[in-house]
Symmetry: C2
Subunit: 376 residues, 2 copies
Amino acid sequence: MTRFSVTYRIFAPELAEAKVRAEAIALEQTVEIPRDVVPAGFIEDEILGRVEEIGSDGDGQFRATLSYSPHSAGFEIAQFFNVIFGNSSIQRGLRVVGIEPGEEMARRHPGPRFGIDGVRALCGRPAGGLIAPVLKPQGLDADDLARIGYLCARGGADIVKEDHGLMDQPMAPFRERVEKTAAAVTRANAETGGRALYFPTLAGQPDQLEGNIRFARDAGADGLLVLPGLLGFGTVSRIARDRELNMPVMTHPSFLGPYVLSPDTGFDHGVMFGTLQRIAGADISVFPNVGGRFGFSHAECAGIAHACRDGAGPGRPMLPSPGGGMSVDRAADMAAMYGDDVVYLLGGSLLRLGERIGEGIAAMRAALDAVRAAEA
Amino acid sequence: MTRFSVTYRIFAPELAEAKVRAEAIALEQTVEIPRDVVPAGFIEDEILGRVEEIGSDGDGQFRATLSYSPHSAGFEIAQFFNVIFGNSSIQRGLRVVGIEPGEEMARRHPGPRFGIDGVRALCGRPAGGLIAPVLKPQGLDADDLARIGYLCARGGADIVKEDHGLMDQPMAPFRERVEKTAAAVTRANAETGGRALYFPTLAGQPDQLEGNIRFARDAGADGLLVLPGLLGFGTVSRIARDRELNMPVMTHPSFLGPYVLSPDTGFDHGVMFGTLQRIAGADISVFPNVGGRFGFSHAECAGIAHACRDGAGPGRPMLPSPGGGMSVDRAADMAAMYGDDVVYLLGGSLLRLGERIGEGIAAMRAALDAVRAAEA
């Protein structure tokens, strides 16, 4: 059975110490017992992690690739990620910089159901950047949010996305909100002949999620926004793997910041907001854009976009979705940076337009079209 | 309605900048729109976060306490934590150092169902440290794991806990393993007259968790080990809040390391492994012990233990459970450090004893009793 591999950056003064630490990771992530107690046979030969390669990666840094057995990772995303970086996430000076699922884990976790082409087909936008205005603020009632959704769909949105802070609060309870907004977007589409999609934020206690997923689908939601940092990456996978449900998933980075912010722990930006999201099955991955309210650099954002769209996998290419401080003024720069296969989140500044919010979306569309025309 | 409050450590060169950042957090964590777009009335007065207090906290550091509305946090743990640190977790130079739920959120999330006294009552250990050997390694079959569970219960374990890496792998599928181990521990208890508890690791895809929780209860498991870093803190709460289920929860730190490892992001150790676990409803919180394989300091571990047991809440005091490198040799030091209300995890080194594993547990009990006798 093909093993999967994880590449770690180990911070250590010299190779000998990095090797010792790599062998310790091999134990920690699998059997979690001292080396001399590991039973011979199947456990030692198959289950125990294996250091496949280790070498220098710059001053005081080493790259170690370890392989693990699919038997160890089982069939759940939670256990797959548990083997990748469960306990070792608590070690200082250790960062995941690459994941190669291999044939067997790729079969168990085939990734995005829709991917770039699938999402484009759903919203009828075969080329050019996709525009996703965000319904907010928290505190509005369901009618007001649905009204904004209607105006956004009328204005030419590709995806009407809810703010990640809209969950199941009393001001706009999940089911009421989803029902009203789905109806509003459907009405707008009927009027324009367009195909704007509606992605509510999946809410609910764990034992309500199943019911809420089905409710959203039946009410006419086209996809779901999921917060893997709070609901777990397994929730993304549960939706992506459901053929009958057949809904695309957009993931949001809430609560995930500490995984990327320090260079010597967590995951590289592209692994967290690209690779892991793809393995879990997200079709669109939201992340904080360079130049917005968060401090991600140009290189980090480019790395995320690459990891989302890399033709080599894992699974189908997915859409990167930079958010935070996006505006018409930046459209040309953003199109130059991200190219065509991207979902632009348009946030709170659009609300300044009030009932004319659709004009803001139309302006963004015109700006993106101008970039494409100039390139052609 | 009583607002809840979160205290952040802000890294900034001067107070004026820290104040600007605190006001930005108030927006980011609630309405997530520019200040000038916040609608007057209910949203501005109630939903918008409020900077209640801000002051210096040492060189280049400031403490800011913000209050939020329970209307904003709703009724789910996910959304409560989303307001506490969702998007702001992606800001550099910002760390959560305290959470005060206040009356209303304490009512919605009353914390541990059992707490220290409840767990002690269940396992019939009114005083002294509790001993929890861990069933492993991954790769053994269900019969072998059940056999170790039997020997541990015979040897005087208070809690027979499964390794966090035992999920639903083919070598020892969750249901088979739980059934056999629960029966083995029950048999040992019948033979000794003891009351060792059995905590399997909750496994399954999100849509299997409900069934697996009930299966474990019906098969005779006494509590559940839950990995909130992978399954979400809501899963802890879902179990803790189920009066009919009535099972204690032990939480494990897998995948949570990056939240604490860097001093300028994430959560203080006590908040992550104490406060948040308590709010979610854990009765026992596992964390990496000082002097083990992980780099937590004495002060960090003491801070965690304090946050777990603080009589001021939130909710009932819970049991800290240091793990990693625990042994009989360290029993006296550990008892001096942690006192009585603690669960000692005994891991892989016990396996060296093979069929005599119970002797290792008895030796740990004798060492802890000796400390108590010396103190009395």
